[in-house]
Structures are given as structure tokens and as C-alpha cells.
Symmetry: C2
Amino acid sequence: MRRPRRKAEETRGDILNTAETLFRERGIAKCSIADVAQALHMSPANIFKHFHSKASLADAICDRHISRMIGRFGTLDEPAPAPERLAIVVRKLMEAHLQDLRDNPFLFEMIFLMSEADLPSGQHYRRLIENLFADLIRQGVESGAYKCTDPQAISQHVAAAFASVLHPVLLAKAGEAELHDRCDGLARLVNAALQNPLAK
Amino acid sequence: MRRPRRKAEETRGDILNTAETLFRERGIAKCSIADVAQALHMSPANIFKHFHSKASLADAICDRHISRMIGRFGTLDEPAPAPERLAIVVRKLMEAHLQDLRDNPFLFEMIFLMSEADLPSGQHYRRLIENLFADLIRQGVESGAYKCTDPQAISQHVAAAFASVLHPVLLAKAGEAELHDRCDGLARLVNAALQNPLAK
């Protein structure tokens, strides 16, 4: 009885791979669900069984990228003190984004086209980032480096404070030298806040 | 000898007013320089003397809006201590943006369409915001509330920290309740940083 389910997951993966290739080659605006179906020798109805719209297909492609990118940071357990690690994590995340924008400009087009719609992949990205900060801040509090009392709550505001170096739409507009300077400055600012008992 | 110059400035103002009205009515994407010229009974060449492209015309409209909006904050000299004033200023700026998005949705379309290009009005907005923060932080240092040593340098990072509540593209996507919560949380975080001698 497992065979049909595995097949559905495989089909889903095939659709994502083919759509990603076509979006990359032609741009998402010039590519329809029918084009993806044709490239896969499938009926468009078959694709709609898995994805109800081009937006949800694009959303799933973004989500796969994001999960892979953040997955690489889950294993980041450097022995440095929390304030240093915070600065390192933000810088590495920003650099991973910049690399992604260079390698996959179509992804940026996608994010930009869809950024008016509040899609699940964007919310998923935000949650992953907030959890990454919450873990880091919790460890910092345990080691005595950070003084804040509610790591989970403050991690949302810490994530928001880094929006200008972690949000793709803002990232893509600034020069790299400026972004690095801004990233370091924001890490200093946030670290000063987290090391102050005034921060909640 | 002053008459011709005044006339040029008046013409420039007429072009801005008419273009703004047309952009608002039809959307910027569906409106050309030729349409603006026709509405003013002018030749397109005459408009091109003042604005070299539709983008530079849109940029000038945005810049006029921004200058008026920030102008309202120049007179804000409440007697409250610096940390409270910081929170008030950011909240008022955010609310002015939200009001603007409600009243002038075409402005948002414009900012969104142009936000890939790094236009002068965007840089002007950033400089105005940074100066607003620099003044506020300087006063906070003088009164002893803030401990940082370089208000001008840190004001750039403070402005960046508030991007998710002051940047139109990010603002337009979030719900109001969430924005208010984020705005207050960011103000607490930044205030904790500025009151810590660790902040530079």
C-alpha cells in the first residue's frame, strides 16, 4: 500500500524540479503551468492535483530552497561566546542569500513578484530564522553573556532588527560593502541590547 | 531676470501635480509621459526638459511626499526623555507611512515598481531618517540617558534596525497589530542597546 504514496511524492518532486528549471531558463512570468506540464509529458490537470496555482508552485520551490539554506545553519555549533556567534550566524546567513541571488537570480524575481502575497514560504523562513535566534539567545543567557529574560519573545524582535540584511528584497538593492558594514553594525547593536538587563 | 526661472519652477510643479493625479487615477504602469503632456497641453519634449524619464518623474513625486512627511517630524520636540521619544518618533513615522499607504495606494505601487532601481528619493528618505535618529540620540547622550559614543555612526544602524517598520515594501505586507507589536519591541531593543556603554 505504500507504493502510490511514494509515487505521489516522486511526482511532486519531478514537478518542482522541472518547474524550477523552466523558471530559471525563461523567468517565472513567461512560464505557465501548461509549459511545466508539457515538459513533463503530463496533463495540466495532473499538476493542479499537486499545486493549485503557479503561485503555490513557486512558493514550494522557494520553501525547498529556504529549508536547504537554513538546514546548513542547524549544524553550526561553534565554541565561540554567544555574542560572537550571533554576529557570525547573521553574516553567514546574509552571505548565503547573496550567493543565492548571484547563482539563482530567477529566485529573486520570484520572491519579488510574490512578495505582495503573504505566502507560506515567507512565513516559514521567518519562523526558521526566529528559532535560530531563540536557540542562540537561550544559550547566551545560560552562559551568562546575555541578560534578557524571555529569549523566545525577544528573538522575534531580533529577527526583525536584521530584516535589512536578511530580507531578500532589501538585500538585493544594496552594495556588498555597505551590507557587510550594516550587518556588523546591527550585530553590535543587538549584542549591546541583549547584554543589557534592560532588555526583556 | 527672475521671471524665466520662476516660470520653470512653476512648470515643474504643474508637471508633478498633473503626473501625480494621473498616476493616482490610472496607475503608473498605464500612464506615459505623453499622457502627462497631453493633460497639460504641452509637448512631451517640454516635459523631458524637466524630467528625463518616467522613473525620474515618479522619483520626484516620491521625494516631494517624503520631504513633506519628514518635515512634520522636524518640529517634534516633546519634553519626554530620549528613550520614550525614540519609541514615539518611530511609531509616528510608521503610522504616517500606513496612513499614506491607505490614502495613496498608487504611491506604494510606484515605490514597489521602482524599488529595484536605487533612486535618489530612496537615498534622500534614508538620510532624513538617519539624521532624525542622530539628533535624537545626541540629545539622549547629552541628557545622560544614552551611553553610546558616536551618535552619527550608530544612527545608521539604528535606522537599519527599524527597516521592517519603516520601509514601505515591508510595511505594506504586515498586519497593523503585528506592526505595532514589532515597532514597540524594536524600540525596546534599540533603547536597551543605546543605554548600554557597550554600544559604540
